[in-house]
């Protein structure tokens, strides 16, 4: 079945080569980082996590969002999703792989990665994040392989896979909850110290992930014989609309708590994000960009007449994805470090090597998705 990914036209192979090139550039800069240390990044003593960890957080969300097609189909019999659950599961596999790479490139001593297993530390949330992410990868890889293989052979899927699929639903929620716990259990990091961090993460995940899936479905329809169907894509649009509304609502809740209570620590965290501190604009342009894009997208998604127009839906999906990428893939994590425990306002911006490594990991995810979806399209076309 895997050989299906190896047959393709010129366009397909040029795309694959392009991704491989990006991966090569990323690898080159990663080797530089290995040699010189994380000093070649924009990280500092005060802002000690940056785009690697932020992107990790964002893509855990993308991975978890597979549940937004799996759950409606298997628990509520939403038949339109029948054709695309596999797309969600495969997207989850690619996203979790990216997450693992983002964690790996962030490590100062990557050769010691096995220490996490050799000295399992139950009171560290990072240990549990590793457990939940690898479990999720295993579940989705199993489900996707078994389902696709059954389709390929033209036989019904074995009965035992159903409970595994059902298990993937709470497991998806768990990966993003544990990821939120990484941050919101820390004393003194006021931006993260909020009980609704996990719900916020889930809401933004369930908006960004399905938005990406909409775009992938539209792309598949244009480029291949695979059509997810108008109805499925429309339903995904509804999912994105609700999740985005919840996400913005949660953000407003946070702002109310901070601004009305006037507790300085809580205000400073948001002040830095949206207005900057001590003359450092910092993340403000990025965060306002995120808000503006998010609100425009939400309006487009909430009005049924607009949402049903596929061009508008596609645009809204792009806006949602970019908006949340800015907020969660950068602002949420970097913002947690400013001001520092000693009140320092230290700016952070990724350096060129950092961007190249990030792009290399995106390309890796893109390559996986390309191969996976190629197989799906080929299997479906054969039937």
């Amino acid at each position: 079945m895997f050989d299906l990914a190896l047959t393709g036209g010129r366009r397909y192979w040029s795309w694959v080569v392009f991704l491989l090139l990006l991966m090569g550039v990323g690898l080159f800069f990663y080797l530089q980082q290995l040699q010189h240390g994380l000093g070649i990044t924009g990280l500092s003593r005060d802002v000690s996590w940056g785009i690697y960890i932020a992107q990790f957080t964002f893509f855990v969300g993308v991975a978890a969002s597979a549940v937004m097609v799996v759950l409606p189909y298997y628990l509520h019999d939403v038949r339109q999703f029948g054709r695309i659950t596999i797309l969600g599961e495969l997207l989850a596999i690619a996203a979790v792989t990216m997450c693992m790479l983002f964690i790996f490139v962030d490590m100062g001593q990557p050769t010691r990665v096995l220490n996490v297993l050799l000295h399992p530390t139950l009171h560290s949330l990072m240990f549990w994040d590793m457990v939940s992410l690898s479990g999720y990868l295993l579940i989705n890889a199993t489900v996707a392989y078994v389902m696709l293989n059954a389709e390929y052979k033209g036989v019904p899927a074995p009965g035992w896979i159903k409970p595994v699929i059902l298990l993937s639903i709470p497991w998806a929620i768990s990966i993003h909850t544990v990821t939120a716990f990484l941050y919101n259990g820390l004393p003194g990091r006021h931006l993260w110290f909020t009980a609704i961090l996990a719900p916020r993460f889930l809401a933004s995940a369930f908006a960004a992930g399905p938005a990406l899936l909409i775009l992938l479905c539209l792309l598949l329809r244009r480029l291949t014989s695979f059509d997810a169907g108008r109805e499925a894509i429309g339903k995904l649009g509804v999912v994105v609309a609700y999740a985005m509304a919840a996400n913005i609502f949660f953000l407003l809740l946070e702002l109310f708590t901070a601004l009305y209570s006037q507790v300085p620590d809580h205000i400073h965290a948001f002040e830095y994000l949206f207005f900057g501190l001590e003359g450092e604009a910092g993340l403000a342009p990025l965060m306002w960009g995120s808000v503006v894009l998010g609100v425009i997208a939400l309006v487009a998604l909430l009005v049924p007449r607009l949402r049903r127009n596929e061009k508008i839906l596609a645009t809204a999906a792009v806006l949602v994805f970019v908006s949340l990428w800015l907020e969660k893939g950068m602002g949420m994590i970097v913002g947690g470090f400013v001001p520092s425990p000693l009140g320092a306002v230290t700016p952070y911006a990724p350096t060129l090597p950092e961007w190249a490594i990030v792009a290399g990991i995106w390309a890796t995810g893109g390559l996986l998705i390309t191969f996976f979806y190629k197989i799906v399209v080929a299997v479906r076309a054969a039937n």
């Binding site: 003593r45 000690s48 100062g108 990557p110 220490n115 560290s124 820390l186 000693l342």
Partner: protein
């Protein structure tokens, strides 16, 4: 957390260094010598009292800092973003942001030394995925540079900014090397270790010894007759951010 704390105590009980510090508490306080077992049961808790009145009298002073950084091979990395520091000076208003207002004289209270607080309930230890940072039976929060994977989770978790990461190879940035203390490699976290190596030899921490004013007093917080406890009983003291629940072992006399 109870169980894990006990785990650390057990590790500490077996450690030779911990036994060594038992001798010191004996020397300092005159109490009965602590056996390895009683050390493991956390008879001691090392702590420090810093008298800001004394400290301020010295004006712009960095003798404790220099002594510490020389003793421990702390590099002088030129790029401030990659700075490594175990003890350093900070303005009063930054260290105690909620202890001052525009009307109080603390507002221009000069600078004061800050270092790892060797917390009773250290969040850095709680989050570390490899136990590369752990708390000994005598309260000292330690680092194992050979186990640390450089994930920097402990830096996110420490609410005092006490930890430094080696963003670059520190060795080229050492003026001279103290052969008794290991140098570090790039990619690991480090911080103050309360001079465990000196304690084991029955010596006081380097910063305490270096202070020309005697502003830093070191001793066992669990021993009522220790000099630190006497100072705490006599004078008004504060800890950094006590409301966060970490339980700092460093006290400041204001």
């Amino acid at each position: 957390m109870k169980v894990t704390r006990k785990d650390f105590l057990r590790i500490a009980a077996g450690s030779v260094v911990a036994a060594g510090t038992g001798t010191l508490v004996h020397a300092l306080s005159g109490s009965a010598p602590a056996t390895a077992a009683t050390v493991g049961e956390s008879k001691q808790r090392w702590g420090m009292v810093i008298d800001l009145r004394q400290c301020r009298q010295q004006g712009e002073c960095d003798q404790c800092i220099r002594a510490c950084h020389q003793t421990h091979n702390v590099p002088e990395v030129p790029n401030p973003a990659h700075e490594v520091k175990w003890i350093w000076n900070e303005p009063f208003a930054k260290v105690f942001p909620f202890q001052q207002s525009e009307y109080t004289r603390q507002a221009d209270g000069g600078t004061l030394p800050v270092l790892c607080n060797h917390c009773a309930s250290p969040s850095c230890v709680r989050v570390c995925p490899t136990k590369a940072t752990w708390k000994r039976g005598d309260g000292i929060v330690m680092m194992d540079y050979h186990r640390c994977i450089g994930c920097r989770y402990c830096m996110a978790a420490c609410p005092y900014g006490s930890r430094s990461f080696n963003y670059v190879d520190p060795r080229p940035h050492l003026r001279q090397v103290n052969p008794e203390v290991p140098t570090r490699s790039a990619g690991v976290v480090e911080k103050c270790d309360f001079c465990t190596a000196r304690l084991a030899k029955g010596e006081l921490p380097a910063c305490v010894e270096a202070c020309p004013q005697g502003a830093m007093v070191f001793g066992d917080l669990n021993d009522e007759s220790s000099p630190v406890r006497q100072l705490l009983a006599e004078r008004y003291s504060v800890q950094r951010q006590p409301h966060l629940g970490c339980g700092p072992s460093i006290f400041y006399l204001v």
